[in-house]
C-alpha cells in the first residue's frame, strides 16, 4: 500500500526497515486521527453556549495512568522490535569475500577493488570514480573512508546510509536482491559541491559481473587517468 512513496527496496535488510516503517506509520497515523478527531469534536461539542458552565475538575488519576501506561507499552514494543533489525544491520558483519573500499572526497566517491590478488594496497588495485559494480545476492562489505570532510554513503533503494568520517574506517554491508542501476548520493552536507556529489551502484547478475570484472578488474591496469568510462558517467557529465 505504501509502495508508491518509499522507493523500491532491493536489499535483504531493507524489508525489515520498511516493515518497521509501516508499523510505526499505522500506529502514529491511528494516533493522529484519534487525537485530531477528539480535538475537533471537543471544540464543537463544548463550544461556548449561553447558560452552560464548564465542568469543574482537576483531572482523573485512572485516566492519566491509562494514557501514561498505554503509550509507554507501545513505545517499549517499538523499541523491542527495532533492536534486532539494528543489531543485524549495523552491529554484525556477515562473512564475505567481497570487499570494496570507498574513499569519499569533495565531491566524488572513489571505489577501490583489490584486484586479482584480493588484497588492498597493492599495485593491482583498481579505482573507479563514482561507480561501483557488485553481483546480485552477494554480501558486499564496503569500507568507508574520507579524505577531507564528513560525507554520507546513501543508497535509497538499499535503505543504506552511513556517514563517512575522516580519520576512521567504517565497515558496512549490504546484499542487493535485484540487478539494476541505483543512485548513490552523498547525504551529509560536504561543501559547495555537495549537491550533485553522487555515483551509481550497478548490481549485475553473476554472469554479467564476472564479465565486467574480467574486462575491468583483471585486465592489465591502464595508465592512471585513462580509466575506461561507460555511458552513465558521460551522460551525467553532460548534464552538470
Amino acid at each position: 500500500m505504501l509502495d508508491w512513496w518509499l522507493p523500491e527496496n532491493v536489499s535483504t535488510y531493507g524489508k525489515d526497515i520498511d516493515w518497521l516503517f509501516q508499523l510505526i506509520y499505522y500506529i502514529t497515523g491511528a494516533t493522529l486521527v484519534l487525537v485530531s478527531v477528539a480535538l475537533v469534536a471537543f471544540l464543537w461539542i463544548y463550544r461556548d453556549r449561553p447558560g452552560r458552565r464548564a465542568r469543574y475538575t482537576h483531572g482523573s488519576t485512572p485516566l492519566e495512568i491509562a494514557w501514561t501506561v498505554v503509550p509507554a507499552l507501545i513505545l517499549v514494543l517499538l523499541t523491542a522490535l527495532s533492536v534486532p533489525a539494528w543489531s543485524r544491520i549495523k552491529m554484525t558483519q556477515p562473512d564475505t569475500d567481497f570487499v570494496v573500499e570507498v574513499t569519499a572526497k569533495q565531491f566524488n566517491w572513489q571505489i577501490t577493488y583489490p584486484g586479482p590478488d584480493g588484497r588492498f594496497g597493492t599495485a593491482d588495485d583498481k579505482t573507479l570514480l563514482d561507480e561501483m559494480h557488485v553481483p546480485v545476492n552477494k554480501v558486499v562489505r564496503v569500507v568507508l573512508k574520507s579524505q577531507d570532510v564528513i560525507h554520507s554513503f546513501f543508497v535509497p533503494q538499499f535503505r543504506m546510509k552511513q556517514d563517512v568520517v575522516p580519520g576512521r574506517e567504517i565497515a558496512q554491508w549490504f546484499e542487493a536482491t535485484k540487478p539494476g542501476k541505483y543512485e548513490l548520493p552523498c547525504a551529509e552536507l560536504c561543501g559547495f559541491g555537495h549537491s550533485g556529489m553522487k555515483g551509481w551502484v550497478y548490481v549485475h547478475t553473476p554472469a554479467d559481473y564476472a564479465k565486467w570484472a574480467a574486462e575491468t578488474l583483471t585486465a592489465a591496469t591502464p595508465p592512471a587517468g585513462d580509466a575506461p568510462r561507460d555511458e552513465p558517467r558521460r551522460e551525467e557529465k553532460a548534464k552538470r
Binding site: 525489515d16 516503517f21 471537543f42 464548564a54
Partner: protein, 580 residues
C-alpha cells in the same frame, strides 16, 4: 521579603528615569522583555526572507530569485551553490538563536516571570539588562557575517567539523568565525538570563505562591532556564574550541592533528537536544496557560503537567545521541539512545492527553490566542509522532538527513514554538502594551498561516520518504528525485503564501500598538497574578502591596463561586471553605 520591599522602596525614591534608562538601557524586566520580543520579530523578517530564497531555488532551480538581483548582481539573482548553503545555514541559525529563543525565553520569560509570581522585578535587574545587550551584540556580530569577504557561514546550523573547522573546505573565513564568536557571546547572554530566572523563581515568589501554585508557563520557563544554564555553556565551549581550530591552529576536531570530528557532534548535540526543549517547553507552558482560560476549566492534571516537563528536561540530556545514529558512533550506543528516545515520548503524550482533557467538558471560546494555542497542540502532535520514526534506529538509517527530518523540525519549531509565540503575543499583548489587538486581523493572520503552514511542511514528509536529501542545492541533479519535483513546487507556493500571511500580523501588531483600544485590567477574565496589575504594569508592577496568593492558578468555573473564574488573589474566606 523585607529585603525586597526595602530595595523596592529605594527604587521608588528615584522613579523618574530618562529616555535612555527607560527605553534603551532599562533594568525593568518588562522593558527588557519587550526588547527581546522586538529583537526576535525583526530577525524573523530576515529568517523568513532567507527561507523564501531557499524555497525558490528548490522549486525552480537556478532561475533568478525575484528581487535578489539587487543583492547578487554578478549572477543576476541566481543563487549559486555556496550562496544557497549560506542561505539555509543562516535561516536556521537566525530562526533558532535569534527568533525563537529571544521571543519565548527572552521576551516572555522576562515579561512573565516577575508578573506571574508576584515580584517587583527580577532578582538581578542589571544582569538582566546586560543579558539583553549581550544578545544584541551577538545579533550584530551575526549580521556582520553577511558582509565579510567569503560570505557567511555555510556549513549548516550544526556546523559539523571538519567542514566548518577548516577554512579550505568551504572557502568561508570570517563568516564562520563571526558565527562562532556570535554564538559565544549569545551563550554568555543566555547564562546571565538563566541564572536570573532561576534565582527569581526560587527566591522572589509572592506570599502564598508555593511552587505548586505557580502557573505552568512559569514552570516551563523555570525548567527552560535550568536547561539553558546547563546546555548552552557546552555549545559556548565547543564554539570556542572550533574558533581555536580555525584561527590558532589547534586540532580539537581535525583528524590529521590527532583530533576527532565526532567530538564536535557529541558536544553540539549534547547542547542541541536540550535546545529543542528550550524552544518547545515555553510554548507548552503558554498552551497550558491559554487553554484553561478559554475553556473556562482548570488545567487537567496540573501535577502531571509539571512533572512531565521535569521529566522531559532530565531525559533531554540522555537522548542527544539519536542525532548521531549513522554518524559512525558505536552502534551499541545507538541502541541505548533508542531506549531513552522512546521514553521521552511518554511525557509528551501525557501532556497532549492532558490538553485534550482540559478541553473536555469546557466552555470553549475560539479567540485568536486560543486558536493559536490549539494550533500549537495539534501541530505539536504531528511533530511528536513523526519523531517516533527517527527514534527507531533502523528506520532512522533511511530517513536521517532527508526532508523527513526537515518536516519534523518545522512541525516542532514552527508548528510548536512559533504558534506558541503567536498565541502568547495575542494573549499578553493587552498586558504588555496596554492595548487590545484587532480580532478580525487576528483571524486573517491565523487561518491562512495555519493552512499555508501545513501546505508547506506536510509534503516534506512525503519528500523525505521518497529519499529526498536535505541541504541539496538542486534536486533535479538526481534521477530518483525528478518525479518528486512537483512536491517542491507545491511546497514553495505554500511557503510564499505563509510569508504573505504574516502581513496581517505586522499590520495588527503596529496598528494595535499605537491605536488599539485601551486594554482593561483583565480582558480575558483570567485568574493569574499578572492580570491584577495595571495594563501595562508600571515600574515595579504593583503600586501598593504585593499580591498575596491563596490558591492554584486555574480555578475556573468553581461551583460555589458566582463568576466563572476565581483569581489567585481572592482571600480564602471570601471564596468559601473550598480548598485546593
Amino acid at each position: 521579603m523585607s529585603v525586597i520591599s526595602a530595595s523596592a522602596h529605594a527604587h521608588v525614591e528615584h522613579h523618574e528615569l530618562g529616555f535612555l534608562r527607560t527605553y534603551v538601557f532599562s533594568t525593568d524586566h518588562k522593558m527588557i522583555g519587550r526588547q527581546f520580543l522586538f529583537l526576535g520579530l525583526m530577525m524573523m523578517i530576515l529568517g523568513g526572507a532567507l527561507a523564501l530564497v531557499i524555497r525558490w531555488q528548490l522549486a525552480w532551480p537556478e532561475t533568478p530569485v525575484p528581487g535578489l538581483g539587487l543583492i547578487l548582481r554578478e549572477t543576476g539573482g541566481i543563487l549559486e551553490p555556496s550562496t544557497y548553503n549560506m542561505a539555509f545555514t543562516m535561516h536556521a541559525t537566525i530562526m533558532i538563536f535569534f527568533v525563537v529563543m529571544p521571543i519565548l525565553a527572552g521576551g516572555f520569560g522576562n515579561f512573565l516571570i516577575p508578573l506571574m509570581i508576584g515580584a517587583r522585578d527580577m532578582a538581578f535587574p542589571v544582569l538582566n539588562m546586560l543579558s539583553f545587550w549581550a544578545a544584541f551584540v551577538a545579533g550584530i556580530l551575526m549580521l556582520a557575517g553577511f558582509f565579510v569577504p567569503g560570505g557567511h557561514a555555510a556549513a549548516g546550523w550544526t556546523s559539523y567539523a571538519p567542514l566548518a573547522s577548516v577554512v579550505e573546505y568551504t572557502g568561508v573565513n570570517w563568516g564562520q568565525n563571526l558565527w562562532l564568536i556570535s554564538l559565544f557571546v549569545l551563550g554568555i547572554s543566555s547564562m546571565m538570563g538563566s541564572i536570573n530566572y532561576i534565582t527569581t523563581v526560587i527566591n522572589m515568589r509572592a506570599p502564598g505562591m508555593s511552587m505548586f501554585r505557580m502557573p505552568l508557563v512559569i514552570w516551563s520557563l523555570f525548567i527552560t532556564a535550568i536547561l539553558l544554564l546547563l546546555a548552552l555553556p557546552v555549545l559556548t565551549s565547543a564554539a570556542a574550541m572550533m574558533l581555536f581550530d580555525r584561527v590558532l591552529g589547534t586540532s580539537w576536531f581535525r583528524p590529521s592533528g590527532g583530533g576527532e570530528p565526532l567530538l564536535w557532534q557529541h558536544l553540539f548535540w549534547y547542547f542541541g537536544h536540550p535546545e529543542v526543549y528550550i524552544l518547545i517547553l515555553p510554548a507548552m507552558g503558554i498552551a497550558s496557560e491559554i487553554l484553561p482560560v478559554f475553556a473556562r476549566k482548570p488545567i487537567f492534571g496540573y501535577h502531571a503537567m509539571a512533572f512531565s516537563m521535569i521529566a522531559i528536561a532530565f531525559l533531554s540530556w540522555v537522548v542527544y545521541g539519536h542525532h548521531m545514529f549513522v554518524s559512525g558512533m558505536n552502534p551499541a550506543l545507538g541502541m541505548a539512545f533508542t531506549v531513552s528516545t522512546m521514553i521521552i515520548a511518554v511525557p509528551s503524550a501525557i501532556k497532549t492527553f492532558n490538553w485534550l482533557g482540559t478541553l473536555w467538558g469546557g466552555r470553549i471560546r475560539l479567540t485568536v490566542p486560543m486558536l493559536n494555542a490549539l494550533a500549537f497542540v495539534s501541530m505539536f502532535v504531528i511533530g511528536g509522532l513523526s519523531g517516533i520514526f527517527m527514534a527507531s534506529t533502523p528506520v532512522d538509517i533511511y530517513i536521517q538527513d532527508t526532508y523527513y527530518i526537515v518536516a519534523h523540525i518545522h512541525y516542532v519549531v514552527f508548528g510548536g514554538s512559533i504558534f506558541g509565540a503567536f498565541a502568547a503575543i495575542y494573549y499578553w499583548f493587552p498586558k504588555m502594551f496596554g492595548r487590545m489587538t484587532n480580532r478580525a486581523l487576528g483571524h486573517l493572520h491565523f487561518w491562512p498561516t495555519f493552512v499555508f503552514f501545513n501546505m508547506t511542511f506536510f509534503p516534506m514528509h512525503i519528500l523525505g520518504i521518497g529519499g529526498h536529501m536535505r541541504r541539496i542545492y538542486n534536486p533535479l541533479q538526481y534521477e530518483f528525485l525528478q518525479p518528486l519535483q512537483w512536491w517542491n513546487v507545491l511546497i514553495t507556493i505554500g511557503a510564499i503564501g505563509l510569508g504573505l500571511a504574516q502581513l496581517p500580523f505586522v499590520i495588527n501588531f503596529f496598528w494595535s500598538l499605537f491605536a488599539g483600544p485601551r486594554a482593561p485590567l483583565n480582558p480575558w477574565n483570567a485568574t493569574t497574578l499578572e492580570w491584577t496589575a495595571p495594563s501595562p504594569p508600571p515600574h515595579l508592577n504593583w503600586g501598593g502591596a504585593l499580591p498575596t496568593v491563596y490558591r492554584g492558578p486555574y480555578e475556573y468555573s468553581v461551583p460555589e463561586w458566582a463568576e466563572d473564574f476565581l483569581p489567585q488573589t481572592v482571600p480564602a474566606a471570601r471564596a468559601g471553605a473550598r480548598r485546593h
